[in-house]
């Protein structure tokens, strides 16, 4: 007991979602936990509810029956009319969530202790074992909740789970270095090579990201690089070639995935009252996806 017990204090994470039977976030059947909070603001982000560092009230207009109970129930006058939430006034009291008869309102972002999460992870162990899967920690930027990871990662390894960290890499290298002691695989996003493009569309410079990837690759942990392809942003041959060249000069990358933009997350912007700033059709053409694959292949990248 006391401070000598590793569990003497429970550390919790701010979680938006735990997805079981996750089959696209690393090998096999996995359980993916999405941590809330990100230091990039990619304008195409498909998990916008994971950007903000604190819980938010979320509204689903597809099930709303416009009874307007929510606005009358709100003690702070934060709901102007059904589902139209003033996030600045909202204090997350949850009155509207409790009263909504149709489950149209919810609070996204919940604190979960590492043992709570571990219990969920353990439930699908037979599937991990059968499929070579495990646990993925994604977000948001999971490495921003480092105190939680300090507590959680050793527990995962104690359970012998295959651990994947899904990161954008815009963190101090020490964070990556620490988590690399426990992770079996990093999913590392490279969104753009040109610093201008990166800065303009994600809000951050990419020098530290590329440097982190380079240094991480020397630590020997397996890395899969994921490149989102967004029309009008990075769907140029030069950009893809620059990324590909950089990756080809970085040893230790065992898989590269090209992920065409999808609009899965667009609806979520509205639900949390966040403006969606991407203009035009961001879907890359099939032709460009083929070109991008060709370019990557010409640099001998291990495309999936």
């Amino acid at each position: 007991m006391g401070i000598f017990d590793p569990d003497w204090h429970e550390v919790s994470a701010l979680v938006t979602n735990i997805q079981r039977f996750s089959v696209n976030d690393g090998p096999g059947i996995r359980t993916t936990v999405f941590l809330k909070g990100c230091n990039l603001h990619c304008c195409w982000c498909h998990n916008p509810e994971c950007i903000n560092m604190h819980p938010q009230t979320q509204f689903d207009d597809t099930v709303c029956q416009k009874c307007d109970l929510c606005s009358t129930s709100c003690p702070n006058g934060a709901i102007r009319s059904y589902g139209n939430i003033d996030q600045m006034k909202c204090v997350l009291c949850g009155c509207c969530v409790k009263i909504c008869p149709y489950d149209a309102l919810s609070i996204v972002g919940e604190r979960k202790t590492s043992s709570e999460l571990l219990e969920t992870m353990k439930k699908d162990r037979p599937y991990y074992q059968e499929s070579g899967g495990g646990v993925t920690i994604s977000g948001g930027e999971p490495l921003l909740q480092l105190d939680f990871l300090h507590n959680f990662l050793p527990k995962l390894k104690q359970e012998n789970f295959h651990v994947v960290i899904d990161t954008a890499g815009c963190v101090p290298f020490s964070s990556l270095e620490y988590t690399a002691c426990f992770a079996d695989l990093f999913l590392f996003d490279v969104k753009a090579f040109s610093p201008e493009i990166h800065k303009k569309y994600t809000g951050a410079d990419n020098a530290v990201i590329l440097e982190n990837l380079r240094r991480l690759s020397s630590l020997g942990t397996e890395i899969w690089v994921r490149i989102p392809i967004i029309a009008g942003i990075n769907d140029t041959q030069d950009e893809i070639a620059a990324i590909a060249r950089f990756l080809s000069e970085t040893p230790g990358i065992s898989q590269v995935d090209l992920l065409p933009f999808h609009d899965y997350g667009v609806k979520k912007y509205e639900s949390i009252g966040k403006p969606y700033l991407l203009r035009g059709d961001p879907h890359p053409s099939d032709d460009f996806m083929l070109t991008a694959k060709r370019i990557c292949s010409s640099f001998c990248l291990p495309l999936r």
């Binding site: 997805q19 079981r20 039977f21 089959v23 696209n24 096999g28 059947i29 597809t62 099930v63 009263i99 909504c100 008869p101 489950d103 439930k123 699908d124 037979p126 599937y127 074992q129 059968e130 499929s131 899967g133 995935d257 992920l259 065409p260 999808h262 609009d263 899965y264 667009v266 609806k267």
Partner: protein
């Protein structure tokens, strides 16, 4: 029988054939046959049979029933209209079996309560009358009284009861021995020591068998006659081939693959024609028993693979003429010598199903984790075509559970799937698999409503009539529920068994009995202890609905004390009108299917009670009981007469299906649903079970996702799962999901490079996926 997924929805897909028929590699002949398929229907066939039977019955008033039936059968087969269609591959055609023609029971595509009679009479009314007559016509006879109560339960959909049929006949015996040898066996048996009634029954079987031989000969002559007027040399050749085949198989074992398939079809045709009501007849392990004929022909150079495929396709079209007829074909699985069957016929069956896309025959694959990769790939192709076939059965667990039910190791290994999901011995087992199903949530209604069925006002006395306000703890309530469940299970089993004890005598089926192993030797009907195995069943409906309801009662009434039981009853009386706030509280209670022990334990307990009541119980025919955790379409029909339930389900809507969660409530993904299911002792479900997973066709297009699905099945089977079916959704479902997202929360679709819940997508993306499904699929 069948779950709506493998049945109603598949039926809906029936006619999507087939602008691209050429691309699918069907032969010209099969394409023509497909096109003319619906024109063959003879609406007078079934009335004709009835006329002949009543004529013969009135001519022989003094004979015993089996003899009368045999004479009528003989007469009918000698006058029945037959034709060998020009251009057909095989002789024979069965009536387009349709429930509404032969049975008041209707099974429409979409269950619309307004169109369907409030109860499904099946056969119970006639049965009770015949048993009453048999017992001397006394309405006050204790057994008649018991049955009257059961009859009321069936009419109220407290019980589902359907007798007879539901069997895999002895196709394999007939193929191996030939008809003449089996007839000789029966003749020898007549010379042995038997009672008069046994001898009379053996004679009836023999008469039927000889009538069947003559019926096949009629086809031989008919084909020969047709050939005379045909100019086209290839058609002429085919007709002569049919003629000589029929001539041979009317007596001898088939000589070659074509003759074997022809014989399989004619046996099947006559069996389903002979029993127009409840004629659920499945086919058994087709790939096991046809392959030797194919291999011999192939070695002798008598057949090519394409020719054999055409014959299988033609057989499939014969089956397809009998919509909704639960003609299940079983493929794959281990043999007694321990090898796994994945032979050319296995693959031909899969290809026929994939390319013809008919609702019949149903296709069940006996699955093993280490089965050949190409069989998995071929199965995946069929799944992707959107029919829901094949369904997967856990080979190891099924064999174990059949042995547990008294089948010898050899017969257990040789089990096949009957109807929807019932595990049955082949040609040696009559388990009357739809004899009794209990509507579990309705018992909860009785408890909360003083033993009165809310929607009909019928009174069903409770074992223990309790004042709701006097119940102080959930444990007390739960103990009461378990007590009532046991009491009504016993009542149902006793009544169904009573009917079974008379059934074979009141509804004899001499021709079916002739095909079965054991009936001739014992001189007894298939339903009267004739076959080697004479088991019975205990099926249940509404497990998840009950579990969710119990969880709500526990949480809201006893743990949080938000509402009293009596107050809850008022909300149920009002069908939750004016109680929307209560629905909100209910939706926050734990739901089965999400790997939550707080509610999964109720399903586990119910299954335990089933096992406890049925396991080792002996029926009146000397067999034991198997448990069925599937509901055919009964969850909708039972739901029709079940009032609002504490889980928030409104009056008249469907109950939960098989062992699945309440519709749309399993929102934690397929691993959680499976974890919930395997908490119960499902490996004891000797009469089969249904667990349905939904995936989009796009999800399965991606090879790594398909692999994940296989891993999912493997780990589920490793933990005792009996059956799983993969529902690859079509655009109709997706459209419905778009209209009513609340009901399809668990629908996973592949978008591009990732998967997502369909209802979480932008409407435009949803439309795109709907459009893509149609292009990708058809």
């Amino acid at each position: 029988m069948i779950d709506p997924i493998s049945c109603v929805k598949i039926k809906r897909k029936l006619a999507i054939f087939m602008s691209s028929a050429n691309n699918l590699g069907l032969s010209d002949r099969i394409q023509r046959l497909y096109a003319m398929r619906d024109e063959l229907y003879d609406s007078e066939a079934i009335p004709h049979r009835a006329q002949v039977y009543s004529k013969v019955f009135s001519q022989h008033p003094t004979l015993d029933l089996p003899s009368k039936i045999a004479l009528a059968f003989e007469e009918f087969l000698s006058v029945k209209k037959i034709s060998v269609l020009p251009g057909d591959v095989l002789a024979g055609y069965a009536y387009k079996y349709s429930w509404d023609l032969t049975d008041p029971h209707k099974t429409p595509d979409i269950y619309n309560a307004a169109e369907v009679p409030p109860y499904d009479p099946f056969c119970i009314d006639d049965e009770v009358e015949r048993i009453k007559d048999y017992l001397g016509g006394d309405e006050n006879h204790p057994e008649v009284k018991k049955l009257r109560f059961f009859q009321k339960g069936v009419h109220s959909w407290l019980f589902k009861h359907n007798s007879g049929g539901h069997i895999i006949p002895g196709q394999q015996r007939i193929l191996t021995s030939g008809l003449k040898a089996l007839q000789d066996e029966a003749k020898t048996e007549l010379g042995k020591e038997h009672t008069d009634s046994e001898k009379s029954y053996i004679s009836a079987m023999l008469r039927c068998a000889e009538a069947f031989s003559n019926y096949i000969l009629r086809y031989s002559e008919e084909a020969e006659n047709s050939s005379r007027s045909i100019e086209d040399s290839s058609e002429k050749k085919q007709l002569l081939k049919i003629s000589s085949a029929c001539k041979n198989i009317s007596k001898n074992p088939p000589n070659g693959f074509f003759e074997a398939v022809q014989l399989v079809w004619l046996v099947h045709e006559v069996l389903i024609t002979d029993m127009p009501v409840n004629c659920v007849i499945s086919v058994g392990r087709l790939d096991l028993y046809l392959n030797p004929f194919y291999q011999a022909d192939l070695a002798a150079g008598h057949i090519t693979e394409d020719e054999a495929q055409e014959i299988i396709d033609a057989l499939w079209l014969k089956f397809a003429a009998n919509e909704m007829c639960y003609q299940n074909v079983t493929i794959g699985g281990t043999t007694v010598s321990g090898e796994f069957i994945s032979n050319p016929i296995t693959h031909m069956c899969l290809r026929a199903t994939e390319r013809l896309r008919c609702d019949q025959p149903l296709l069940a694959l006996r699955y093993a984790p280490d089965m050949p990769e190409e069989l998995w790939e071929e199965s995946l192709n069929v799944l992707r075509s959107g029919t829901g076939f094949p369904s997967f059965f856990n080979d190891t667990a099924c064999i174990v559970v059949k042995e547990r039910q008294g089948l010898s190791h050899e017969d257990a290994v040789n089990f096949a799937v009957m109807g929807c999901v019932e595990l049955t011995g082949c040609g040696n087992d009559f388990s009357n698999t739809e004899s009794m199903r209990i509507n579990i949530p309705l018992l909860l209604e009785f408890m909360l409503n003083r033993g009165i069925q809310r929607l009909t006002g019928e009174v069903f006395p409770l074992h223990n009539n309790r004042n709701l306000d006097s119940i102080e703890s959930f444990d007390e309530f739960y103990a009461w529920f378990k007590q009532e469940l046991r009491a009504y299970i016993n009542l149902g089993l006793e009544s169904a068994d009573l009917i079974e004890s008379f059934w074979g005598r009141l509804y004899p089926a001499p021709f079916l009995s002739f095909t079965m192993n054991g009936c001739v030797q014992k001189g007894r009907d298939v339903a009267d202890g004739g076959p080697i195995y004479n088991n019975s069943v205990l099926n249940g409906g509404g497990f998840a609905s009950t579990a969710d309801s119990l969880a709500v009662i526990k949480k809201l009434v006893f743990d949080e004390k938000i509402i009293t039981l009596s107050e809850f009853v008022v909300a149920l009386d009002q069908d939750y009108k004016g109680y929307e706030h209560l629905l909100r509280l209910i939706s926050a209670c734990p739901k089965y299917g999400n790997d939550d022990d707080a509610v999964d334990r109720f399903v586990r307990d119910m299954v335990d009670i089933f096992i406890d009541e049925a396991d080792g119980r002996i029926n009146s025919r000397g067999g034991t009981y198997g448990i069925g955790l599937y509901t055919v379409q009964d969850h909708a029909k039972m739901g029709y007469l079940t009032g609002a339930l504490p889980d928030g389900r409104l009056a008249g809507t469907a109950l939960s299906n098989g062992l699945a969660s309440v519709q749309g409530k399993d929102i934690s993904g397929p691993t959680a649903l499976i974890n919930s299911a395997v908490k119960a002792e499902i490996s004891c479900a000797g009469n089969g079970m249904v667990l349905d997973l939904k995936f989009s066709p796009q999800f399965l297009q991606n090879p790594s996702n398909a692999k994940a699905m296989r891993h999912l099945i493997n780990s589920y089977f490793a933990r005792g799962g009996i059956e799983i079916q993969i529902n690859v959704v079509n655009s109709e479902t997706l459209l419905a999901a778009k209209r009513e997202p609340g009901k399809y929360k668990n629908l996973v679709v592949r978008v591009s490079g990732f998967s997502a819940y369909f209802c979480s997508l932008l409407p435009a993306t949803q439309d795109e996926i709907i459009a893509r499904t149609e292009h990708g699929n058809f």
